[in-house]
Amino acid sequence: MRDVFTEIWESVRRNKLRTCLTGFAVAWGIFMLIVLLGAGNGIMNTTEANMAGINSNTMSVYGNSTSKPYGGFKQGRYIELTERDMALTAGPAFADHVDEVSATLSQSGFMMTYGKRYFSVGLTGVYPDYARMNRIEIHAGRFINRGDLDACRKVIVITHLQARNFLGGKENYDSLIGERVKIGNLSFKIVGVRQAAENENDTEIYTPYTTLKGIFGKSDKIDMLSFTFHGLDTEAENEAFEKEYKRVLNTVHGAAPDDERAIWIRNSFRMNMQMNKGRHILEIFLWVVGLFTLLSGIVGVSNIMLITVKERTHEFGIRKAIGANPWSVMKLIIAESVSITAFFGYIGMVLGMFACELLDATVGSNPVELFGESIKVMQDPSVGLDVALEATLLLIVAGTLAGLIPARKAAKVKPIEALRAE
């Protein structure tokens, strides 16, 4: 092995500039590949972070308007979900898949006052499951519980941004638990402080569903019905379930059973699936772009190796005359090609990872103002160890391929070449 490296070093040393220029193309190719994949990961991470507020097996159901006339009604009639739909969802018809059902009710346009500070807020009446379904993170206190719901307690969960404001910028959220605030004319007790959703103007105040309903004397209408489910593992199963679900609810509301738009379902499981698909496609696309960039580097290495072989024809003739077999000559060229590719490829890879860190420190940590909202364009743009390993393998394969044609050419040098005068 050491002999092989000595030979490679001897060869490379004689052509430093040429080797470096070729190596630059390889380094550039791998650099681009790593940066592209890192940036792609960053963008996908951002999308995923925006989706993180939803449990992956939750369906949210909303009323919508009918898309076709049915049973004497014209199309375009608005369907409103009611508590009866909740009972139906939780009932025996869907017992195979549905776990827990909850509903929300929203009312906006309140003023929340604490001391001299006040906010314009919206109130959302929720079930205790809401926290789990929507992955709500509690900083202090607790979320709405079953007791609150049953007793119609006037309790609320506020966001950490509101809490921080109440505390004058401090973050000892615990001290706010048990404090009372005024919403409209009513006094509410703070039981919890939650993390406000990122990238959104999230000012929702959570209160028990029953409380909101009791106070504002709403009918049994609900804004949104959501439920967790199990046993729907494929796209097709989900689709079938959604179809059946719509059929049942449509029937109850007097809409055409096959009306796809009378009620609207947001299925987080399917969204996740589609996002994974999207991620996969993006990744393949970036790999292809990166590979083509790398290809020009590889062709460069192949080219330089061809020149090397041509220059060393006489030498290979001598080697063969004194007993080198074709394979040992091939080995020499392939090893040189792999070494050049791997060495410069690694430099490119390290620089690429460094660039990803740089991207993280600049674009990654500074949200950009876009459409009035602050959006993080990239979150944690980096590549994992798996990509580094794949890239290493890729470099070795690429180096071998680059060396293959020149090596075959070298192996075909006839030993008679040795007799030809230089």
């Binding site: 002999d3 001598i318 004194i322 007993g323 077999n325 074709p326 006839k414 030993p415 007799l419």
Partner: protein, 240 residues
């Protein structure tokens, strides 16, 4: 017999077929010191290529030490060249970016001999040829005679059955030429090395014990030259 050639024919097919060797029959015994002489175009280079397993022949048989050298794979041919034949070339053919000792080691490298062992052996051979002090030098730092002696060390290091020398003095001045030929004579005499020299110089041929004349692809006269009496101004040769 160490070398047996039986009716060896070779034709080059580059456009016009060229029948270069027209039935060569030649026996060379172990320990002989033979020169093959001929003018350019006589077929002596082709004969050398075949003897050195650098090229194939079309018909006939070629035996080294009873082993038929025919239809070898490249790998086999390389192995035979490595173990049975030592080459000395007109232009030395040392590898320029390797030192003298590395050049001498190279055939052993292809035999898979360990680094230390082959280095030690290479130093021994360089020492024998009086070049121990030049071991770390590169070929372009040496004189022609020194380079050719390095090449001879490289040819000898595998202890080959045959040493094939192609115009070994072609690039040397007359004084060094004499030294090199004396060195070859000494190797033949003291080590019983079988040496075949291909040349068109009568002076070189005269240093050998047997002169095989080749002309137009056939072997003509075979002279016994143990008395080294074939005059430098021999009758049937072309003068340098």
């Amino acid at each position: 017999m160490l070398i047996e050639l039986k009716d060896v024919n070779k034709t080059y097919n580059n456009g016009q077929p060229l029948h270069v060797l027209k039935g060569i029959n030649l026996d060379i015994d172990r320990g002989e010191f033979v020169s093959i002489m001929g003018a350019s175009g006589s077929g002596k280079s082709t004969l050398l290529n075949i003897l050195g397993i650098l090229d194939n022949y079309d018909t006939g048989e070629y035996y080294i030490d009873g082993r038929l050298i025919k239809n070898l794979t490249e790998k086999q041919a390389a192995d035979y060249r490595n173990r049975m034949i030592g080459f000395i070339f007109q232009s030395y053919n040392l590898i320029g970016f390797k030192t003298a000792v590395e050049n001498v080691e190279l055939p052993l490298f292809y035999q898979g001999v360990a680094r230390k062992k082959r280095h030690q052996m290479a130093m021994e051979y360089l020492d024998r040829l009086g070049l121990a002090d030049w071991a770390k030098h590169y070929p372009n730092e040496m004189s022609g005679g020194q380079k050719q002696r390095v090449a001879i060390a490289r040819a000898l290091i595998t202890r080959p059955q045959i040493v094939l020398a192609d115009e070994p003095t072609g690039a040397l001045d007359s004084k060094t030429s004499v030294e090199i030929m004396e060195l070859l004579q000494q190797l033949n005499r003291e080590d019983k090395m079988t040496i075949i020299v291909v040349t068109h110089e009568s002076g070189v041929a005269n240093a050998t014990n047997k002169i095989v004349h080749i002309k137009d692809g056939i072997i003509g006269q075979i002279e016994d030259n143990r008395a080294h009496s074939a005059s430098v101004f021999g009758t049937s040769t072309i003068m340098k």
